[in-house]
Structure formats: structure tokens, C-alpha cells
């Protein structure tokens, strides 16, 4: 499992998990999960086109995911963000199906683009993934505070001269970069789950933003590692494991949050009862 061609798989998949854990934290915080779903669909069309005209897949992925990001940013300015995202998603998916229909030898190809093909990552895929990862992480480090600020208090950030629109667009482009490197590994339909599950679970167990980021990365790494091992062992699609394990983290996180909130409410009720007794009668209506 750890020899020969599988070494590349472990390296690339770990990088992918790291990126998904970091970028995904902001996807969840900014409420752009839908865009995180749509951009890979655009990238999928790009990969299909690249296969058709015979250029490198990662080039098609990169160009199309950036186009999708810019399109969503541009359309979202003029109308509702979710509608713009939905339309971009549909148009790009339609293009993808067109390109694939023109392609003669697409069957295993389409399957791996949609659902990921972790077990056969070649050594020439490692270098571009590392480059994209370094760029993405560098951007996230630089953008960390402004992105946090404009996600949480957009109006206040705007008043200090931080353009919400610019932050929106820059983040969509970071998302596009992250997409183009993660797509060949986990697939267009399942990147989404890796970017949402671990960060959403992480934010349920801590209120500290840095801790949440760290937990998100750890969960994402564990998800990918376990998925690869199980996929290798049982010869099942890796995407299946990525999707279900991500969802599992989320379920566990929500259960934990619900439990702690309930416990606190029970403790709070005792206090409330005392207050009600102490309050003058006039205030106790309702």
C-alpha cells in the first residue's frame, strides 16, 4: 500500500486534504458552499475539453475553474448570488456533457473526473499539485485576517476600506485554484464534501478560529488517508469513502454541539428560575 506508484498517491492526497481543510473553513464561514459545489462542475467541463483537444488536464481544470469563479463573481454582483451560482453550474455541466459526447474514449476518464481516481496518480502530477498548493496556502495566509473580517462583519470591514466585492472575488479565485488541484484526486462531485464536512464538524467543537482551522485540517487528512486505505483494501471508489466519512464527521460534530448546548441550557434554566422568582410580578408576563 505504501510502495511504488502509491507513494505519489499518499503525497498528493495529503496535500489535497490540507488545502481542502484550510480553504473549506472559509467556504463554510462565508456561506459559499454552493459556489464550492459549482466551481468544480466548471472545472469538470474544462477537463473534458482538455481531453477532447489533447492538452494537459490540469490546464483545462485551471482555466475553467477560474472562468467559473469570475463568472459567479460577476453575475453575483448584478443579481442574487445563489441564482448566479446555479446558472453557472448548469451551463458548465451542460458544456461538460457536450465535450464528453464528442470524445470517443471517455468512459473511465469521466468516471475518474467525477468521482476521483486516487490510486493511479502519476509522478508528473505531483509537481503541479505542489506548486498550486504552495500558491493557495500563501494566498490564504496573506488573506487570513481580511477574509475573516469581511466574512464576519462585511459592513464594518467596508467602512475601514476593505472592499467586500474584492474579497469575494479573490476568495472565489482561491477556491478555483484549490479546485483544480483537488479535482483529479477526489473528483468533481466529491471535492465539495471534503471542503464542507471537516470544517463544519470542526467549528461545532470549538469557538476558537485557529483551533477550528487546525481540527478541520486534521479531520480532512484523516478522511483522505482512511479513504485511500479502504479503497485500496476493498477496491472500491475512493470518493465513496471521502463522501461518507466527511458526512460522518459533520454528524458527530453536530451531535456534540447539540449535546453541549443542551447541557448548558439545563444549567442556565436553574439560574433563570431564580431570576423569575426575584423579578417583580409586573415583568413576569408572558
Amino acid at each position: 500500500m505504501f510502495t511504488g506508484f502509491m507513494v505519489n498517491t499518499w503525497i498528493v492526497a495529503s496535500i489535497v486534504a490540507l488545502i481542502a481543510g484550510v480553504v473549506g473553513s472559509f467556504v463554510v464561514m462565508r456561506g459559499t458552499a454552493f459556489a464550492a459545489h459549482a466551481i468544480p462542475q466548471g472545472a469538470f467541463a474544462g477537463a473534458a475539453l482538455a481531453g477532447l483537444i489533447g492538452v494537459d488536464t490540469i490546464l483545462g481544470l485551471g482555466v475553467f475553474s477560474v472562468i467559473a469563479a469570475l463568472g459567479i463573481g460577476w453575475l453575483g454582483r448584478r443579481g442574487r448570488h445563489d441564482v448566479a451560482v446555479a446558472l453557472s453550474l448548469v451551463v458548465l455541466l451542460a458544456l461538460g456533457s457536450l465535450f464528453l459526447s464528442w470524445n470517443t474514449d471517455y468512459e473511465p476518464e469521466i468516471f475518474s473526473l467525477l468521482f476521483g481516481e486516487v490510486l493511479g496518480i502519476s509522478s508528473d502530477q505531483v509537481a503541479p499539485t505542489v506548486v498550486l498548493a504552495v500558491v493557495t496556502i500563501a494566498l490564504m495566509v496573506v488573506l487570513f485576517r481580511p477574509l475573516l473580517f469581511s466574512s464576519v462583519l462585511p459592513e464594518v470591514a467596508e467602512a475601514t476600506g476593505l472592499s467586500t466585492r474584492a474579497m469575494d472575488l479573490i476568495f472565489l479565485i482561491v477556491l478555483a485554484l484549490a479546485t483544480s488541484m483537488t479535482l483529479p484526486v477526489v473528483g468533481a462531485l466529491l471535492i465539495f464534501s471534503l471542503m464542507i464536512g471537516p470544517p463544519a464538524a470542526a467549528r461545532s467543537v470549538t469557538a476558537n478560529p485557529m483551533t477550528a482551522l487546525g481540527i478541520s485540517v486534521v479531520l480532512s487528512l484523516v478522511t483522505v488517508w482512511v479513504s485511500i486505505a479502504l479503497a485500496y483494501q476493498w477496491n472500491l471508489p475512493v470518493g465513496f469513502f471521502v463522501g461518507t466519512i466527511s458526512a460522518l464527521w459533520y454528524a458527530v460534530g453536530r451531535a456534540w454541539l447539540a449535546w453541549t448546548r443542551r447541557r448548558r441550557r439545563v444549567a442556565g434554566d436553574d439560574v433563570a428560575e431564580v431570576t423569575v422568582q426575584a423579578a417583580p410580578l409586573g415583568r413576569c408576563r408572558r
Binding site: 496573506v142 487570513f144 485576517r145 473580517f149 464576519v152 464594518v156 467602512a159 476558537n208 483551533t211
Partner: protein, 297 residues
Amino acid sequence: MVPPLRSSEDAPGTYGEGAPPTGADLLRLDDVNVRFGDRQVLRDVAFAIEPGQFVGLIGSNGAGKTTLLRVILGLQRPTSGAVHLAAGHELGGAGRPRRAPLVGYVPQKVMLDPDLPLRARDVVALGIDGRRPGIGLPSRSRLALVDRLLEQVSATRFADSRVGELSGGEQQRVLIAHALIGRPRLLLLDEPLANLDLNAGQDVVNLLARLAHEQQIAILLSAHEMNPLLPVMDRVVYLAGGRAVSGRTDEVIRTDVLSGLYGRPVEVLEVQGRVLVVAGLETPDLPVVSAGARATR
């Protein structure tokens, strides 16, 4: 401390300030007009604020309060007129508005996701350098500063709580601390009392009055209900239909002045210690204009 309710024969509108630059003003608006298409939102609005003054920006919904605050913040460029900030920080007029570092801002109704992984102290820390690039490594002096601000707004108790789970009044305090940590000389608050119950609202008003008094921070607070502010307001800017009159409360909240502002007879009444602005008696078919300018149109 309800202002005396007088009625006089003075011509209304004379309390709108002209433009006497005293030099001590922190903020001065000169005949600011804002027009969206064919809708005139602000019409020749002019007033000035001095350091440490507590100013209420009173008007019903749609009177132009938020637009006026956005103009002061440089988020909305006036169609004509100018906003002068102390020490030559000029906004508006020609060119792109510059940001105003001496102004802190607490927006209206911030919607915070209850699951947001952010503690009250993280929100306050964003006020130090939230717009600067990088991660912002924690340092002892930063932590101490955040702690001090949290204490100033009596938020120490929930400093480490998830900010989205706090009550409206608690979130308001955190946002005030966030705005104050940049050491502004003027604090703008958009309807901070709108979503608070009476007690929480009164706490916030008292906190702001203390800040204005102790630290000489000028406060400009918008509200549709003026009664909670009457005990602490130094001045009032009363907006109706895009026009404004400003002055001391006893100069502005008067039957003659507000009738002139509304362009129709209204009456200022004092009922059980509360000030009500109602449509004049000679036109009984008109609805109540406002209870402290509450009802709209």
C-alpha cells in the same frame, strides 16, 4: 431630564446649522444632498459634532438615517455638499472618499451565524488590524488591549463565548468594543437599540454616555425612538423626509420646529414623562406621526 416643551413664534428651520467652522468640530456636514435616481434621500443636511458630544440621530424608518451614516463613513458619496472630519480628513466631494480612521462604526442588526467559530474576544481583536494582511500572531500587548476593551464594555464575563450565541445586547457590547479598539474620536451607531429589550437598551445607552463623558468620544447614534436617549443626549439631529434640524433637544423637539421640518402641523406632547410627536390637532384625519418618531408614513 425631559426637555422643556415650549411653543414659540420663531420661524421654524432656523435651527438647522449653517457652516460656521469653529475649528473645534470633529465632524461637520455642509449642505449634504443625496439623490438615488429621482428620489431625494437627503436634502441640504448640515450639522456639526464636537468632541465628547452625545448626539441622537432621530427619525422614522426611511427618513434617511442609514444613508446619512453611510455618507459620514465614506460608503456613500453625496450628490452635492461635503463632509468635513477633524484634522483635514475630508470625505466626499470630488474624488474617491477616503476612509476615516478616527471614526468607529457599529452597523445595524449584524447577523452572526450562531455556529461561527469565533469568540467575543476574536471579534474585538479584528478591530485592531482586521484589514491588514497576514494571520496576526497573538502577542501579550494585543491580548491585554483586548481584555481592557472587553472590560470597558462589561463583556469580560462572555469574552470566550461563541459570539453568535450571545444575546443582542451582549453582541452590541462586543461590537462597541470592536469599534473602540481603534481609538476613534467619533463612534457611529446605526439603530443599536432596535433589537434590544428596554433594560438591555438602557444599559447600552448608559455605557455610551459614560464613554462620551469619560473618554471624550463623540457619539452619533441613530434611533427611531428618542425617549431612551433623552436623559443623555447633548444634541439631536432630527431627520424627516430627508431634511434635518439639529440643536439641543429643547431647541429641536418643539411643536413649531418639527412642524416646519415635517411641512405640516405636528405637535410635541409630553405624556407621563415621555415625549410624543403626533400629527397636529387641526388635521385629525392624519395618523399619529410618531411616538418619539416611531410610526412611519
